[in-house]
Amino acid sequence: MSLQDYKGILVFAQQFDCQISGVSYELIGKAKELAADLDTEVMAVVLGEGVKSLADSLVAYGADRVIVVDDKELKEYTTEPYTHAMVSVIEKYKPEIVLYGATAIGRDLAPRVSARVKTGLTADCTKLEVDAETKNLRMTRPAFGGNIMATIVCPDNRPQMATVRPGVMQRANKDTKRTAAIEELNLEFAKNNNYVEVVEVIKKVTDKVDIMDAKILVAGGRGVGSKENFKLLQDLADAIGGEVASSRACVDCQWTEKEQQVGQTGKTVRPNLYFAIGISGAIQHLAGMEESDLIIAINKDETAPIFDVADFGIVGDLNKIIPQLTQKIKAEIANK
């Protein structure tokens, strides 16, 4: 079995409740670019129960081939049946590259698969490119809490596997007229000691908009000072049509919810406009938002690192500035 025998790019298309997660489409989008460089095809694999119909959207977003493994053991995510399925697919289709979303599923599934298949896995890649000479995948990712970037290669093992955070890659345009091969793979799922039991599924009740979908974010940090004071940010968000987000410090203090956390262990966001209010700009936070189109920072400490990435930085007291800003924005909008 030589490296040459491995061809094609496989995308693990994650789904929850028979709905494909957005990151899957982003991965297919990126895979298409890589496939062009490698002159090969993009395969997507979807695992679950009753998921056959999901194949169509994967095709629409660019998959050249969709593999469906449909079994009751795959209804809810658990490590072993999903690992068994992925490994079987990899052994059958021998892709040279496998991509997973760096999600709560992907970051559990991919390592287990990589250890079983004995290949290399690179986590949280922000950039994927094909090396022009070797045709190996160059996987670039942040390390050291985001302080440095490292480019990783997996020259001697196949497949080359990578996980990618949601919101980093771009999905291709949807084309519902596209067609592609859809194959069902029947596998046996015999329970062994690695199987676990999902006793309960509890959805988090939230009517908040996912901050990753918001075009404008009003984010607060430790400088906001209290849960109550976040009202200032909520007022601004309401006025300008944005959502409230925060740094990890505020989540740890329970001023905001985990879903609102931006940063290395939170969400990566790329809104059009990001207000960084009372946020010092620790590297872990910047990792989650520095790709925002326009960053406006307000902090009373002029040495705060956030000012190094802000397009516009105001040194001042957020408690005085934000209410006035909210007023003026309301006035501007009213005048239009």
Binding site: E76, A104, L273, I283, I296, F307, G313, I314, Q324, I329
Partner: protein
Amino acid sequence: MKIVVCIKQVPDTNEVKLDPVTGTLIRDGVPSIINPDDKAGLEAALALKDQLGATVSVITMGPMQADAVLREAMAMGADDAYLVTDRAFGGADTLATSTTLAAALKKINYDLIIAGRQAIDGDTAQVGPQIAEHLNIPNVSYAEDIKVEGNTVIVKRQYEDRYHTVKVQMPCLVTALGEMNTPRYMTPGGIFDAYRSKEVTIFTRADLDVEDSTIGLKGSPTKVAQSFPKSVKAAGVKVTMDSEDAADYIVEKLKEKFVF
């Protein structure tokens, strides 16, 4: 019940700064700490010890100075510790690291292995599940809560928008989330016990049953082609003005940039 907690000594990346001139990391004087997710895992283990009388061992792979985190863990209440250290293990990626740790764990008795979800220097979250694969035991990641009933571990497994309550039979491995608890402080007496009456057992290459080809640099399918500091985004404009002027300034900029 025997619990083994995998911990890692990491630089406190909250304190690491970039040299503004060279763009490289300033690592000198950065304190070393127990990786936060691991510390939460350790606290979960100690809570189970308080509750059920389990024994808690800690294990780490690293250079000799990683001894410090083992001592800290014992000062918090862990009973004993293992240091897996050898030049041969150096340069390892997650696959080689997990292979080495799994070989060490095979030498120790365990019912439950707890590891932190990810380390703040590598940030991969890979070693935990990979260890479980090498040991051929079930793993549940992203634990927000860990309970034990008889031979069953009950995990509150976190996803982005939901939880699963998962039951898994021991022996098994669980990875812990930093937010699952607030780790206890050491005690003064615990610190002296950790250094003077508790044991750190050292495992070197010779002690482990592994092939050379699976450990260290040789055992690492992934290799670092290049590392470089993050390209610094060109700094923008920074102004100091009174609050009303500041508000006007921002509105003006928003208009310029077509936010309105």
